[in-house]
């Protein structure tokens, strides 16, 4: 029988980030899709008004600002968080992380049974999270460019990054799908890890604590 111990991995701030990020993405995807394709017909003339599109947009923007706050927090933690939260712990830039990356891929492909106990993110997941974080910046800049079309600051950035408003809309919409696909795979892999791994990964994002093998940590 292997021995496990429970260690503190995720700070309160990181958990707050996670849930703000997750819930805002869900909200942004639902409201964003409605903005893209307003499938429900608004009430026809004569009936009481609902301003369904105006309200959906408002919710999108509120969720957008929560999303922005979350992204800023995560960038802060990448550099100043605890040892598991820093990018040095999971980006495959060191031999240790790179070896763990290969081991994780093997494990995910069912080629090896060994679940590498990472403590924090495994390098595969961590790298994807970092990419999503960078894509978030793209979403934020395109979103703010669309939201403040008369602000010379955002219009300046928007022109540099995207060109016209139409290009920004297309980028914003295209990466909406990327966020959707990411969310799906993320939820699946976390549940999978919960079943095949030993860390109790799902509860860790509530409690901040994970199980690790006591002989390896």
């Amino acid at each position: 029988m292997m021995a496990y111990k429970r260690i503190k991995v995720w700070s309160v701030l990181l958990r707050l980030f996670h849930w703000a990020f997750a819930l805002s993405i869900v909200t942004l995807c639902i409201t964003g899709y409605y903005i893209h394709n307003p499938f429900a017909l608004g009430p026809w003339e004569g009936t009481p008004t609902t301003f369904i599109m105006a309200k959906t947009r408002l919710i999108h923007f509120i969720a957008g600002f929560i999303f922005i706050a979350a992204v800023i927090v995560r960038f802060y933690l990448l550099f100043f968080g605890n040892r598991f939260e820093r990018f040095t712990d999971f980006v495959p830039i060191t031999p240790r992380n790179f070896k763990r990356l290969l081991a994780t891929i093997k494990h995910y492909l069912y080629l090896s049974d060994e679940h590498v106990p990472h403590g924090g993110h495994n390098p595969l997941a961590g790298t994807v999270y970092l990419v999503m974080l960078l894509l978030s910046i793209l979403m934020i800049f395109s979103g703010l460019f669309l939201l403040f079309p008369e602000s010379s600051f955002w219009v300046g950035w928007g022109k540099t990054l995207f060109g016209t408003q139409q290009s920004a809309r297309l980028v914003h919409y295209f990466f909406f799908w990327v966020f959707l696909v990411f969310s799906l795979i993320h939820v699946y892999l976390v549940v999978w890890n919960d079943i095949f791994g030993c860390e109790a990964i799902v509860s860790s994002i509530f409690s901040g604590r994970k199980f690790v093998r006591s002989d390896k940590h």
Binding site: P38, L41, F51, I52, Q166, L170
Partner: protein, 358 residues
């Protein structure tokens, strides 16, 4: 020269003159107190000499300016500016016309405003557009270098327009790509609203400087706000009432054209406010979505005109255009299938493991 050409039209009545000045002042976003200043500037004998060059275009911009439906404007422009050279309007032709150009450039060197209508061909030395044996590229460089300022009128002169659309066989570009060392204003549109053209010229005349410009060098008074944010159908947008198809019930009731491809949400222009032809019409007002004609590369970027967003080029698909929607749904579907396969493999493995353990 204007007198020579328009001898049939006679002078503007004072009332009409002031009316036109008021509209112009409003179009420039200036308060009503400025009308007098604008009128005084227009009446001043020092009218700016203008040399109007035509390159690859349809003359629609000039036409829109001179349409009979707003004769005040037509006469006003000929009264305000002293048009030294304009191929469509001038009586001279051929060699004679080219001599006029040369003489005017020499006479007003460093003082005239060079208005450009139409795109410039750059491919193969610019041979696809020649006037009097000289390429448009040569003429533009020559004339613009001696001008005080350059005003690009119409989307072709600003951004290349239809001839610059993919695959752009003549290498057409807008003025800004060639003239980089002269003050330049872009007045895009297909065609631009006559009031925006005139407003730009009158602003320079009245204040002796350029109006405030945006990032694409468009005057902010005309292009500082999106169509969508000033559209009369906007309440229908906010309320979620959309035209689903041209001719349907919603279309008859004047609902928002967002779902049939209106580009108002991404297009900067004052069409809903200034409108066209002096009878208060503009595309969305008459039931057709905005095409985004004041935006750079609108022929490529705003396509398809009847859909909200353009297609995305599938990487490696050799020009196969797919809708972002379709790409997204395929990716989502692929992810779901992948997950299902991965999960099945996991379950199979677990079962196999258990059997071994037992």
């Amino acid at each position: 020269m204007s007198r020579l050409l328009w001898n049939g039209l006679g002078k503007l009545k004072r009332r009409d003159f002031l009316k036109a000045c008021t509209i112009l002042t409003a179009a420039m976003g200036l308060p009503v107190e400025m009308v007098d200043k604008v009128a005084a500037a227009i009446k001043s004998p020092q009218r700016p000499p203008v040399i109007w060059l035509h390159f690859m275009e349809c003359t629609g911009c000039s036409e829109s300016l001179l349409r009979a439906s707003h004769p005040d404007i037509a006469r006003l422009i000929l009264d305000i500016i002293s048009l030294e050279y304009h191929e469509t309007l001038m009586a001279a032709a051929g060699k004679q016309a080219e001599e006029v150009l040369e003489a005017s450039v020499k006479k007003y060197k460093g003082r005239f405003i060079c208005v450009v209508e139409g795109a410039i061909s750059t491919k193969d030395g610019g041979v696809y557009c020649k006037i009097g044996g000289r390429t448009s590229l040569e003429i533009l460089k020559d004339v613009a270098s001696q001008a005080k300022a350059v005003v690009a009128v119409g989307t072709c002169a600003c951004f290349g327009g239809v001839q610059a659309a993919h695959p752009n066989p003549t290498g057409a570009v807008g003025v800004g790509k060639i003239i980089t060392n002269k003050p330049l204003i872009n007045v895009p549109g297909c065609p631009p609203n006559p009031y925006n053209i005139l407003g730009t010229l009158v602003y320079i005349l009245t204040f002796g400087k350029f109006p405030e410009l945006d990032k694409y060098r468009r005057p902010k008074f005309g292009y500082g706000r999106r169509i969508h944010d000033q559209c009369e159908r906007r309440p229908h947008f906010d309320e979620g009432r959309f035209v689903e198809q041209f001719g349907d019930e919603g279309h008859k009731k004047g609902y928002c054209l967002y779902k049939v491809g209106c580009k108002g949400p991404v297009t900067y222009a004052n069409c809903p406010v200034v409108r066209f032809c002096d009878v208060g019409v503009w595309p969305v007002g008459s039931g057709h979505g905005c095409l985004g004609c004041t935006e750079p590369d609108f022929w490529d970027k705003m396509e398809p005109f009847y859909e909200h967003l353009p297609g995305v080029e599938v990487p490696g698909g050799q020009g196969i255009i797919s809708k972002a929607d379709k790409v997204g749904k395929v990716a989502l579907g692929a992810a779901a299938v992948g997950i299902a396969a991965h999960a099945t493999a996991g379950v199979v493995k677990k079962i196999a493991h258990k059997e071994k353990e037992e």
